[in-house]
Amino acid sequence: MVLPPDSLTNASVAARLTNAVNEKLTNNLIQKQNLVYLELNGCSGNIISLLNGENPDFAYALNSMVNFRYSNSLMVAEGTEAIEQMMNVLDEDFILAVEGAVALKNNGLYNVIGSYQGKPLTGLQAVSMLGEKATHILAVGACATHGGVSAAKPNPSESVGIQQVHPQRKVIKLPGCPVNPRWFLGTLAHLLLYGEPQTDHLDRPLMFYSTLIHDRCPRRPFFDQGIFAEKLGDPTCLFKLGCRGPVTRTDCPTKQWNGHVNWPIGNDTPCIGCSQFGFPDAMAPFISYDTTRVVKDE
């Protein structure tokens, strides 16, 4: 973090960062590393979100940061050939990023990601194998960090987060539904440049997950004065509609989404706590209209 008396203009911050990276690059201190991006029981929303990244964007990550060795959705190879590429990485050093939950039911058969040596390869097998060898494990998105939507009641596939499969290993957790590309690419960049980022007691990188949304929300003055929205679209504090900003820690209020375009509260809809452990069940109901006024069926 940079604070006065250092110059704080955008240009000087950018210059500081580029100089630091260039210096490390010329001294050969940063090397491209292998990345395996495994998609398990989920909706692929995190990889779609990743394609939306900016500064760095996905192309930069692909060309300059990592050797992208495996990705269910994005790689050219398919079928056995794809799975073989995954197996080949096992003999090298690699960072493992996992999106989606691990389905445990029937020995993992509720989530089959390919076939290997004529047998179905389950997500459970893949993550057990890869997780044992990886230099770092990143759980990307709600499902991988704590089960998320895949583990929502009644959880027919018995889905769990990555940590349950690897209880002994440090799993860096990036909750979010989906994860913001900045949180993933930022953590990846930190791994390459400086090693593991500082994390909190729930293994979330502090640089993205330390501050409550409620503490940086532009609508906080309305909360403090008790002026509350009664319906979606009201430009005041969304607390009475069920805003989860006060229990959710992300940098959404300041850095926002889609390349700093907007974020839920900026668009007059309450935070649904997508980056809180236990989402979605623990954050329900997402919206309530019966707190501030009398509804008909009362």
Partner: protein, 170 residues
């Protein structure tokens, strides 16, 4: 005029506080206190912003209404959220004994307050930020959550200490 003088003193105090925090931040290396100081700085600046707005409104009012009284709690650091008053005036809670059924009616719906019980004390969470729409991690207001509190917030008695007590459970 004396009140304006008080506000000026308060503003000066806040500006000194902010300068001091900036100085600490600029000279300190990575330290676990950094976030706390940043938080204090943020709150100081919010207070300054509020006082400026207030002074501006005083200035615009003073032409029409020169003797506007100043609320006595103005110089307090934090402005407390206002509890929206339900239709009927509430009885004096201090010595109020709630049965489980009575507690269940304080569910935070339709303008009613939201109460929860922990260890036989009944707390008002109507305007507690963590209990938006009278729900908190799948729990609905109006019930006894002694066990849930013990399993989720073990040892975090500060949470309870900060909540207003409205009575006891029968």
């Amino acid at each position: 005029m004396r009140n304006i003088e008080l506000l000026r003193l308060q503003l000066n105090h806040l500006v000194t506080q902010a300068r001091n925090d900036l100085y600490i931040l600029a000279t300190m290396n990575d330290s676990p206190y950094k976030n706390q100081i940043l938080q204090r700085l943020w709150e100081t600046i919010s207070s300054i912003e509020f006082l400026i707005e207030y002074l501006a409104s005083l200035a615009s009012l003073s032409s029409t209404q020169p003797t506007m009284p100043i609320p006595t709690d103005l110089v307090n650091e934090q402005i407390q959220p206002v509890t929206p008053s339900p239709d009927q005036p509430l009885p004096d809670y201090e010595y109020r004994i709630f049965t489980t059924q009575e507690l269940a009616t304080y569910d935070g719906k339709n303008g009613r307050p939201a109460f929860v019980a922990v260890n036989n004390l009944v707390y008002d969470v109507t305007n507690d930020s963590a209990w938006a729409a009278a729900t908190h991690f799948g729990l609905e207001a109006g019930k006894d959550y002694t066990n849930e509190f013990a399993s989720c917030h073990q040892g975090q008695l500060a949470i309870l200490a900060a909540l207003p007590v409205v009575g006891r459970l029968a």
